[in-house]
Amino acid sequence: MTVEKFYYDNKIVKAFGMATVVFGVVGMLAGLWAAIQLYLPASSLNLPATTFGRLRPLHTNAIIFAFVGNASFAGIYYSLQRLCKARMYSDKLSWFHFWGWQIIIAAAAITLLWGKTTGKEYAELEWPIDVAITLVWVVFGINMLGTIIKRREKHLYVAIWFYLATWVTVAMLHIVNSIEIPVSFMKSYSWYAGVQDALVQWWYGHNAVAFFLTTPVLGLMYYFLPKAANRPIYSYRLSIIHFWALIFIYIWAGPHHLLYTALPDWAQSLGTVFSIMLIAPSWGGMLNGLFTLRGAWDKVREDPVLKFMVVAITCYGMATLEGPLLSLKNVSAIAHYTDWIVAHVHVGGLGWNGFMAFAILYYLVPKMWNTTLYSKKLATNHFWIGTIGIVLYAVPLYWAGFEQSLMWKSFTPEGQLRFQFMETVNNLIPMYISRSIGGALYLTGALMMVYNLAKTMAQGSFIANEAAEAAPLVKAVSPQKEYWHRVIERKPVTLLVLSLIVVAIGGLVEFMPTFLVKSNVPTISSVKPYTPLELQGRDIYVREGCYVCHSQMIRPFRDEVARYGEYSKAGEFVYDHPFQWGSKRTGPDLAREGGKYPDSWHYNHMYDPRSMSPGSIMPQYPWLLDNKLDTASTPAKIKAMITLGVPYEKDYANRANADLMEQAKTIEGNLKKDKIETDPDMEIIALIAYLQRLGKDIKGPAVTAQQ
């Protein structure tokens, strides 16, 4: 046994780092553009690809998966090698991971702008890309695990645990949430429907926040903060405890996104309880980070890297306090559907994720290029501009959310709603403007970073493979291979119980489809499946991303019932694959839109919203009037729905288009009465059919609700 010499792979870190910077800028640009569209709808250039409904998912996917994703990979590849004192298990796998990921991002950009979306937030990518993500993720896992196995440092530093937790949990979340039935190459329907879909979606959605945006970055913090400050983490013991506490509790906070919705009460309360419990481990991490710098604040004054980290950790603390508070029912009643939530997200996103990414880039680039940062002053300016940007972003939106909610809930003394929805929107314009200025500042800072880093790279010389040496691990004297197999085998009862659990999971996965289908028996007898035309219209609704601005879930509050109609019941959504409850009311709720306006109103409104609603900020959708509906896809869609248990007649797929045309002709007739000439097989007709269906199922007088 001798001391071994080996090399760390910096090339892969450089690659991921570059991708981070590029997609960070792209994602921020998309976000800025979307923000501007909110008060300047014309800035969408009137193209289908760049409407708010399609641009927003591009922004979220670019930021989460392309920016934070690549940043995390860069940081993980750098730190894992050094913590394990070993080069990555396989260079080939490293590069497969890199290129695979970037191809996925490219595919995402193209498909999202093209309108190929599943209609589920942060999981919009269609099924072929989902498959690709799974593949790349598995490769990533093999590479990580292989590196850990061939490590030369016995102890697994806490950061490594965070990386592992990320990997395992994201894998599970992705697979469970992405279970969909493909209809065509780029179209699928969610396996779950309505309330079930909502629960799965937000179980996924919140945990995506937890395990994609938090745990890997926490792991990175536990590595890069001590390195940058050259001091050990404040309490390593605390970090161990905080990790294990977080891992066991995080899984259950999902339902807090669905408070006061049609999700059963007890499930909502469960979400609240666990969200509150989460404050402790989250703040454990924050305090651990901040206390590490105690007595070293002079270093923070000097070093931009540490400045970014301090603000990042503070924003993390704020967001993780605010989150649980938002999951209290009475707070959620005010904040849900408003810009308050957007502000909350961006404190975390801009502050925690963005600033940590910047800090790590500022740390890594000089190190890997064997030089010092080109301009500390420029970096410090970036820091200040970015921080001001965050403040200018969040504060107006907090105000906007709060004010809009209050306006919605405001009644006149006579008991009428005081404000029209449009009035509340117009009220927000100044805040939206301010917010986009904040975002622009943030982007500017990022561009300063790009310049700074480019100059740094130019003045240094890149170390593609960094030399290192360490002694290999001591093979323990006692036989330790297959260790925990033997532990389990020595305790037959434990083995039995664990096997039962594994079998139960397997069994469940197998019979789950039928099980779920059976449970979708409608509890409201008057709820019927969508007609073929309505189904097509619904798919257009999903395609255009209408759910990004419009909700379809009326909460049991006096003001909402007064404004929108009867509050939503779980049974109404049993055939909704996917559910479209939405998370934001940039525009009004549409749950009971059906029958409120004549068909022609919708026709004109889609062509130019301002013609029907002056002052509206909704984009124009003129192409709906000119595009032919793809009726050829109808049979496949019906068949898929039948598989999912929607009670169409057995061979309805073949007859569907006939019904479709019949209903379309009716609508064509209605439009003609209002002086609008159009062919019945246009996309707009389908959309109108869908919109007119919304909420009609229980409007009828004899409602036989069984709940």
Binding site: F6, H155, Y236, A464
Partner: protein, 63 residues
Amino acid sequence: MSVIIVLIISSISVAGIFLLAFLWSVKSGQFEDPVSPASRILFEDHPPASSNAKPQKSNNTDL
């Protein structure tokens, strides 16, 4: 709401995997010394001859 069973089973399985990981860690002595790892990551492990000449080809076995 039946899907909640699926979610619970998945979550508990993941948590179960972490329980196993925890047991392995305790057994293999990962938590014996909770003080030194925090400092250990700060040490650089460059070879004494601080030349950074390295082959650029990326073949593995740590080069």
